[in-house]
Symmetry: C2
Subunit: 327 residues, 2 copies
């Protein structure tokens, strides 16, 4: 039998896993109980799934399918609904498979203001993006690149195909010479408003994170303003907004995601979808940093803000993923 590799939980993660974790069979047994009888025991579902790592959830899914001849995700779909269902399903999925699904949803309902694809392509580690692309093959029997080309058009297509295709180097080495020439190129193209110029697209979609940060630092030193600010001159241009999102997502992912949460909460109606997406995709990665950034920016604990904007089991699930219920 294959042993399950359990990676250590990141110190930036918020989820809490009990010191002694029940076996997958015990967890499945409890989940099955939560589904049976009058009504569903949502509390029990949360108390199990929200406190297991990706590897543990994978083992639960496999054990469940074998024991009951049905996919756990299917059972969950039958038992729960609404924002709570969305949160539990996204969370229970394998991260790579979840990203594949989110990317596919973003493409099928494509509009130029949609930033989910950029979020997935830029906030993930290169190897995680590759895993998502592999999951996309399995799920949809074609490549993510092909669907980007199918659903997007014009300059967005020219931008998004390389964005999801590139396998960015993840090392910390940077070339100052390159930072200088890339900054010059960016400055020229932005000044000329040649936003879809192939060199500009090429730099922001292909360079490593460390190299891109070096470039935007050099840009600021050399030209006096930040790339992000210079990309704000064309406020209504969705393409320029996408470029800005790519730079922010790639260089400052936690700041970017804090803003997504902030906007999701601050609007007249809460954007439950974005809130759920960021919490479920980052709870095991860096939500602690996003939480700290949120507090710094808003002077309100994220936990409290989420409690004020959500309700019922959806609220309980998000708070559990934030690590604030009793594991």
């Amino acid at each position: 039998m294959a042993t399950i590799k359990v990676p250590a939980i990141s110190s930036m993660a918020t989820i809490k896993v009990p010191a002694t974790v029940p076996s997958p069979a015990e967890d499945c047994d409890q989940l099955r109980k939560a589904f049976q009888g009058w009504g569903t025991n949502e509390r029990l579902i949360i108390s199990i799934l929200a406190h297991r790592t990706a590897a543990q959830r994978r083992a639960i899914r496999a054990t469940y399918a074998e024991a009951y001849g049905e996919e756990l995700l299917k059972s969950l779909e039958d038992e729960i609904s609404g924002d709570f269902e969305r949160a539990v399903l996204l969370w229970t999925l394998d991260p790579a498979d979840r990203d594949a699904q989110l990317a596919n949803e973003a493409l099928r309902g494509w509009d130029r203001s949609n930033r989910v694809l950029i979020e997935i392509a830029c906030t993930r580690h290169s190897s995680e993006l590759f895993d998502a692309k592999r999951a996309y093959h399995l799920r949809y029997k074609r490549s993510l690149e092909e669907d980007v080309a199918k659903y997007t058009t014009g300059d967005f297509r020219k931008l998004l195909i390389p964005l999801v295709s590139s396998y960015r180097y993840e090392g910390i080495e940077v070339s100052r010479k390159l930072a200088k020439s890339d900054a010059k190129m960016l400055y020229e193209k932005i000044t000329e408003k040649a936003y879809s110029h192939e060199e500009l697209i090429w730099i922001i979609t292909t360079r490593s994170k460390a190299q891109l940060i070096a470039t935007i630092n050099h840009y600021k030193n050399e030209y006096g303003k930040s790339v992000i600010k210079d990309l704000k001159n064309d406020r209504k241009n969705e393409f320029v907004a996408a470029l800005r999102a790519i730079v922010r997502c790639t260089c400052y992912p936690q700041k970017y995601l804090e803003k997504i949460i902030r906007l999701a909460i601050k609007g007249q109606t809460t954007d439950a979808n974005s809130l759920t997406r960021v919490v479920t995709t980052r709870a095991e990665v860096d939500l602690k940093v996003i939480e700290a950034t949120y507090y710094k920016k808003n002077n309100v604990p994220l936990e409290q803000a989420i409690k004020g904007e959500t309700s019922g089991d959806h609220k309980k699930m998000l708070i559990a993923l934030l690590g604030y219920d009793d594991a």
Copy 2:
């Protein structure tokens, strides 16, 4: 201790591995003996390395480095030379690392007639190309995409960046509708001689192998001539020749590689580099099919042709990789 996963040898491979393989420590001991004393025992080197799988060679490299505090590849470099050295070094490398090195060599000495990058991007399985890109990160501290952009220009750059970036779907499912519309697009662009049109580039660099084959079959049925033939009208255009190579490499890799070997052998002077590259990169993959294709095309066994064109230890090494010496 981690156990070494030994994949089964492909039935299309030519290398022969003895029924009982010595331990990596024993192999290293023998290799060390081959390097010592007066002269090098080339025969002993071949009798070991040419008869080990990639996983076995990896174990030998690791054991050698640990036992002698020196990389096996370094010792080999010191002991042997010329075409024999090239063959042994390429063969001894991990396939992904070897592809990374070959791609880098092709880029550093870039000229528009160089097809090695295309060979690597298109004849490898998508996951192998990805492994090569990961090896490229480790070896060169930047991405293959970045180096393609650095060393190539113009239309070639527009073609080769997506070619090495795409993670092509490898499944066998094809869409007839897509084959039809892609064939129409290719026909239009080829007829207009708009060879670097983004749609044309996009189709041949992103579609899965099965889908591309369906497209070129549909092209032939619908328009009466093959894509390859239609791409021969501009014989002297290197860019068009590159497009042709991509289609042939992707759809008919063994036929393509047979031709590389044929041309390497047929020229006034033997192209030892190409011959060595194809034999070492395919001996564990599909050289048996390439060999059969060669015989069909030339009525001469490949073994005999290689024996006539090479000499000394280089010849012995290639013949051993073809599976014709006593393992």
